[in-house]
Symmetry: C2
Subunit: 499 residues, 2 copies
């Protein structure tokens, strides 16, 4: 059932799409900082397209990141290519097309980190594309943009338009959180992290984690694990006796357990060992320590915790006990040379935490994340925004528009404060999400946040202008075999065929 | 982010599930009318399980519906079975197990229809299951129940418990609507209907339709096409000149088109031809004629329509014009011996329509579907309920509970009126749904409505009691390769592996 008015609108929209060359017009998602295109277009023959290193590039053949990217993007650009000299060749352009890549910094074996330079320049002209970047990570971003510039006409011939792009990300941290604890996500469905479920079939091995980190690195993606404590730790108690606080009913233990017990030195010995092992497995400089949603009921019930509170002079203020705990574990990770990310609760309780700690904002409605952005940056801390990007929440219709219209730096504060917003993180919590619905719930809705975190805010201020571009990009995702759900009525030239 | 309380609840729930044999306890969805089980269980060796026809069954080997069902259910019960004498055979039970099927009515080549008897009795004891049904359609329902009774223990051996089932559906019409017009659904993703999109790649051929009807028949499913007019017909105008009303802006045509033009005899000639062809392709006795959401703006603007209104004495009441149109097309289908289904709008406008017409209620909130149930049945018409089952609408969390707690006969009316509620239809409209997200949005949410339409309402009045059963049934769907999304935190023994 759909109102006739809207139906008619759609009908007109469909006609417009059919009569214009969308691939050419909408091109790159997220929108590059500077991009100019002309209608001059150059044919590309898949058999004669070659990726190559420029002679003066610091990275050359043998660079693991770019060698793998060349092969990957060839397959992404030409999903139907089977090699050989098929019939289609008769119609194809006999001229070669070269994508020449030059990077200044030849480091190919490292990991992307908070200091990575992801800027690049891309110049497409007759027979060639010239891609220049500071680092291999910027080159990856440029290859992605180039791959989106290539399109097929009605005869399935490939073309690319004359194009100039200068690009860099607006925010350095553009994250996606996958929750592997509420539901186990099989390896094919995940990008990151450790977890524990069924002891035989529902675990990630260290080798699984290495595979995730390896695949992420080749795509210029950082893998940041979160070990959330002292709350959200029920499953930890299964393997570690005395780690959790024993809850009391009156004067006797009730048999249930609460948050991690912050009063025992054994707790910190265990966490020191855990984070040492984590550090040896995850190369990233960041480590997420959680610190959210601690329920004080169990701590309050336990006489040993009560005695500890008295000894420390905390009175009955259990936020001080949580502060004490978080301070201790932040110091453990600092000693391991890791930067801690913690949820905003830790700031709200005013723990004394190192100034390089990153605070992540998750409380949205009815809490005002703008006010929290102001408070945290006023205190001089760096901040990540997640509250408006809890993408596991789903509603009927075009809810990607809400994710798109977020303005991460629109709060009361100085320019200096605005700069402390280092980015955001799309969160896919797992209460109602597993491998069966992860992908259509994630794409293309996460792409809305991706553009907000990469692109210039003024140039991407219109959600209505973004709509046809995102529809087009969603078709690109489908063409790449990603089960991205539709934004509205309509169809793609190549539909999802994974059924 | 999840409250610790709830987390703890989940944790306890998980333990309970791990420590009980859920497959055995929860068994069949939707819940049979009468079912008793004992803890006596019998092993089943896949190599020694045989489906057979009872000697006194009216249908025997060669019955297309049951022959195919025997093979299909073998594969559904033993998804991992590869034949031969594998290692697992060492542990398997050497005794045969026979599923013996007896039907009274041996008709195997027809289609399920509104008069089909779907009742069955199933008795499972040592070494055998005896299934008795009036018709092959009832036998199919019994085979489905038997397939859900078989479970695996921790060593992957198969068992079935001693069980007695007497079963029949509460409602005769238990429908699912798939919308193939807002998005094209590829053949693998659909069960029914015709549509038109891209002229080469986005159409269903007559042979596609036959395949759908063939597959549906073997599963005891009716295929009812909907050709919705006079509104929702923009695409029809593309292929049929003068079918749609030309809208006017002042005294000149605006170039846009509105609903079907009800004033021309050519309109009814075209529809007569269309429905004749439809009748030759779709064997079902029902045909859905739509009749919803007609916007009168365009009719009002057209001087020829205005003249027709005057001539017919309709004044300025355009509901009378719509009545006139619907009356005409209902008469066309009546002449073709088809029963018409129409949306509630047609009743609301008080068309003179044949008493065997079925009215379908789609207006839910803020309209009160209960009051409409009362009005339509008071007028003596049969009614289908869809308003609370618009399953394309999605919200965060366990929205299946809303679908489950619907009471289709809970309205003011006599017993006679209640009987006019012949069932309901789950609707999956396609504005935001296509092949990428159809399955996880449909299952297991549609299963909630399925139980409401099949099972006894008193026995299934508790949504909380249904929860673990539906969780278990969702794991059954996953095991059968259906991408059914999770209800809440937790895991299945066999996870979705279609990635």
């Amino acid at each position: 059932m759909f109102l006739t008015e809207t139906k008619r609108f759609h009908f007109l929209l469909l006609l417009i799409i059919l009569h214009s060359e969308v691939e050419q017009a909408y091109a790159v998602w997220p929108m590059p900082q500077q991009m100019s295109q002309s209608t001059d277009r150059y044919p590309i023959n898949p058999q004669l397209l070659a990726f190559s290193y420029a002679r003066d590039s610091a990275a050359q053949s043998g660079c693991s990141v770019l060698d793998a990217a060349f092969e990957r993007y060839f397959n992404l650009i030409f999903p139907d290519f089977v090699g050989g000299t098929g019939l289609s060749n008769i119609w194809s352009e006999p001229k070669p097309f070269t994508v020449s890549v030059k990077v200044k910094n030849g480091e190919c074996d490292g990991f992307p980190d908070e200091g990575s330079n992801e800027s690049y320049n891309l110049s497409v002209s007759a027979g060639q594309a010239v891609l220049k970047a500071e680092s291999v990570w910027g080159a990856l971003r440029g290859l992605e943009s180039f791959s989106q510039l290539v399109y097929q006409d009605d005869y399935n011939l490939y073309f690319v338009n004359k194009t100039e792009i200068e690009d860099f990300p607006r925010f350095q941290f553009r994250g996606l959180l996958l929750d592997t604890s509420r539901h186990y996500l099989p390896m094919p469905a995940i990008l990151k992290t450790l977890g524990a479920f069924h002891p035989m079939t529902h675990i990630y091995t260290q080798s699984d984690v290495k595979r995730v980190i390896y695949h992420a690195r080749l795509r210029g993606i950082r893998v940041v694990p979160e070990f959330d404590s002292p709350g959200h730790t029920q499953s930890w108690g299964k393997g570690q006796p005395d780690l959790l606080t024993s809850c009391y009913k009156g004067k006797v233990p009730s048999g249930t357990f609460g948050p991690v017990n912050p009063t025992l030195s054994s707790t910190y010995q265990f966490l020191n060992g855990l984070f040492k092992e984590v550090t040896s497995v995850f190369p990233d400089s960041y480590l997420h320590l959680g610190g959210d949603e601690v329920d004080f009921t169990c701590w309050r019930s336990n006489p040993n915790v009560q005695a500890f509170m008295a000894k420390m002079g905390f009175g009955s203020d259990y936020t001080k006990l949580e502060s004490y705990y978080m301070e201790n574990i932040v110091n453990i990770t600092a000693a391991l040379n890791k930067t801690s990310i913690v949820w905003q609760d830790v700031f709200d309780y005013r723990e004394r935490i190192p100034m390089d700690t990153v605070l992540e904002i998750w409380k949205g409605v009815p809490a005002d994340y703008r006010a929290e952005l102001g408070r945290i940056t006023l205190a001089g801390y760096r901040v990540l925004l997640s509250a408006p990007w809890y993408i596991n929440h789903i509603s009927y219709g075009q809810d990607w528009r809400n994710a798109y219209t977020v303005q991460p730096q629109n709060f009361s504060g100085t320019e200096q404060q605005k700069k402390l917003v280092i980015g955001g993180e799309v969160c896919m919590w797992g209460e109602y999400v597993d491998a069966t619905n992860l992908t259509p719930r994630l794409w293309p809705r996460a792409s809305a946040a991706a553009e907000r975190l990469w692109s210039d805010e003024e140039k991407t201020s219109s959600v209505d202008k973004a709509f046809p571009r995102l529809e087009d990009f969603r078709c690109t995702l489908i063409r790449r075999g990603i089960q991205a759900e539709p934004l509205f009525v309509g169809h793609c030239k190549h539909e999802y065929s994974g059924l």
